[in-house]
Symmetry: C2
Subunit: 293 residues, 2 copies
Amino acid sequence: MDFSHYWSARQKKVDAALNHYLPSASTKPATIHKAMRYSIFAGGKRLRPVICLATAEVLRGKPDLALPLACAVECIHTYSLIHDDLPCMDNDDFRRGKPTSHKVFGEGIAVLAGDALLTIAFEIAASCKSWPRYSHATILREIAVTAGSQALIAGQVADAEGEGKKISPAELRYIHHNKTAALISSSIRLGAMSANATPKQLAHLTEFGESLGLAFQVIDDILDVTQTTEKLGKSAGKDIAAQKATYPALLGLKKAQKEADRLTAKARAALKPFGKDAKPLEAIADYLLKREN
Amino acid sequence: MDFSHYWSARQKKVDAALNHYLPSASTKPATIHKAMRYSIFAGGKRLRPVICLATAEVLRGKPDLALPLACAVECIHTYSLIHDDLPCMDNDDFRRGKPTSHKVFGEGIAVLAGDALLTIAFEIAASCKSWPRYSHATILREIAVTAGSQALIAGQVADAEGEGKKISPAELRYIHHNKTAALISSSIRLGAMSANATPKQLAHLTEFGESLGLAFQVIDDILDVTQTTEKLGKSAGKDIAAQKATYPALLGLKKAQKEADRLTAKARAALKPFGKDAKPLEAIADYLLKREN
């Protein structure tokens, strides 16, 4: 399996679909559509959509049926970054190596561009195929709950409220679980739903997604300490500067790395029932563990 | 028909349903749920949900089937107010006679509370009943398109970009149509969908909604000039202060009032096919024309 080819082929598919789903940059009012496209096409790795498509493949589903859900998830991820970077939140000037939305378009348009991406996620998702087991109501509720005040937004609130405070490992895991793992796990669940997964398959893949999502965030915390801003494409060392609780801060770098290894192994173990078919998801888990940005 | 009793009975129904749908104020993380509830229960008139329920009644549908859609629309309306009031947008300190969300909870939480209300709108709407004619995909797409970058958000962008500029009557109508009429009209359409309207009925009610929504905004502009902050519960005269284009500014007060009359008459005419059943919507149109806040 040529992993980098595997990834870039799916990345291209997602990029083309996002280009199709988003209104053109000249659609009135042009400012908002330029801002939506600026952040969506700022060079993201497309991790969430790619694992969504890969999950459908593992279940021998048609990747094209997963495509609208993959794009919806990427719109939600991008909206959350735009709002997270605002001066009233994390106040970040760079993201994916480019100036953040509010730096380019001003705060007002950045708020609205985030709003518009969150909104269009539901419009795109509503165009997916439904199954007797996974109705549009089920699929859209999955997205709304994942993006909502008891998951993605809960993570951002807890993260902001934890700044400068000493927080417990349990609280840190709560933040990671909600801020990062929930959407990664949901990307996998949505891919599974698009392939009409059995309830058992969905349960195994949810377990995989949870562990993978937590591993991803632990590694993110580690990279924030060990990598340069240039390599990351976003401000390095900002967790320390903002006095954010992280695994390296709580456990030290070595133990944090061990935790990432443990979570990745746990994720891989959840894929056992899928045998050889699970290869793409295994490769993604390994890649995420070893990534440098 | 005792109009004030009619209205308050439905308002109470909507309040009870919103209380049921929103997580309690103590649900973790408490800050976000307090903020969501603060703005939702800040004393809004519930115009959009009440016309949603009234439309279902006009079609002899069950109002309870319209209730999740009525609440979804109110969540979207409230989210748009929270974000609109932010310092980086209209910078308003008061709304419905109370300090705005960012004044109470800070800007970061206000942004997230708006995000959370927009998100939960889709979760609530997904719990509605579907019909062969109106699937969940159709209903949720209706909401996403109405709240999206070519309707509600387009209106806010055009409104912000028009500040201090001389704009044409056509451009002013574009702003009104998107900023206000789209969501009001959609509230009516969603009520109609909940009652399994025929395509013809839906077309008539859409026409009613369009004219009613435009009339509503013309009257809003007039009240901004003629009423006090106390009576409005939000800053009076702010359109002039922000050099916003309004109907009174463009046509003068007298012609603006005539335009409101004309649009209301047009709205009422679209109700003709429903005969006596249309009474609640007629009463609402008359009430909106004569309101003082």
